[in-house]
Amino acid sequence: MNEMRPFLDCDAVMRQLWDYLDGELTAERTEAIREHLALCSRCFPQLEFERAFLETLGRTRRRHANCDVLRARVVAALRVDGFAA
């Protein structure tokens, strides 16, 4: 199949790079940007930079994981309110 995709220049890709990484674009647009990034030596390092940046932010979530004491406190407060599970 030889589908015509919209031509994207680097500027258009840069404008939507974060939308692309966030999975917020249509399937067609996502594919068009993926194709551009696969071939463009100017845009690809930007993709890697932004991806690493977002992964750095995402690790913030995984760093604070132990909530046992807080959970016990919340459940105790809920029990005063009638919670019984």
Binding site: D19, D22, F49, L57, L70, V74
Partner: protein, 203 residues
């Protein structure tokens, strides 16, 4: 209002435990980001779950419980605030994305093109997030830390999706600027061969 039977009450509590309390770590992180201080955050988490429990009958089964809890948490937080929320002007989201591209080019020239891939920035990220203006921080926390979609974040914040996108992109760019300045000041090397760390970053 009709009284629940013992069996209905128990089923309700079990559903609350399984569907709402499971998100306590996420709500705790969100509360921490809102309050910028752990003691207040724990109070806010407790308040959030008390409000959620009392309103559990209004929660629609099958909908996104985590986003519902974030909304309750944020409203509870805002009620405790006497300060004015700073209104920050927001430029076009795509201009922010282009500015980020320029920032990346500057980072590459300064030897920090691979900064985020090669250096542990955990503490610096926490500080930079805490220093972001509220509007931008709210969007970054929900989308980048709590992994919410633009649409879900918009529902929590009570703003249009386009506003979330603009604030998110501005927040990301501000974070990148802060982290790159931190890297320069701390003498961190991002992996590139160029060691001209004194090069001015674009702002």
């Amino acid at each position: 209002m009709t009284e629940l039977s013992d069996r209905e009450k128990r089923e309700k509590d079990l559903r609350f435990r399984d569907e709402a309390l499971r998100w306590l770590p996420d709500v705790a992180r969100y509360a921490l980001s809102l309050t910028r201080g752990e003691p207040n955050a724990e109070d806010l988490v407790q308040e959030t779950f008390l409000r959620a429990y009392r309103a559990w009958d209004t929660f629609a089964p099958g909908t996104e419980c985590r986003g519902w809890l974030f909304t309750i948490c944020r409203r509870a937080f805002l009620r405790t605030q006497t300060r004015e929320r700073r209104q920050v002007a927001c430029d076009d989201a795509e201009l922010e994305a282009l500015a980020a591209a320029a920032l990346h080019a500057s980072a590459q020239q300064s030897g920090y093109g691979e900064l985020f891939a090669g250096v542990d920035l955990a503490d610096a990220v926490d500080r930079a997030l805490a220093d972001l203006p509220d509007e931008f921080r709210d969007a970054v926390i929900l989308v980048d830390v709590q992994d919410q979609s633009y649409l879900a974040a918009a529902a929590v914040l009570g703003v249009p999706v386009g506003t979330v996108r603009s604030r998110l992109f501005r927040g990301r760019r501000l974070l990148q600027e802060t982290l790159l300045v931190h890297a320069r000041d701390a003498g961190l090397v991002g992996g590139a061969s160029d060691t001209s760390a004194g090069t001015e970053l674009s702002t």
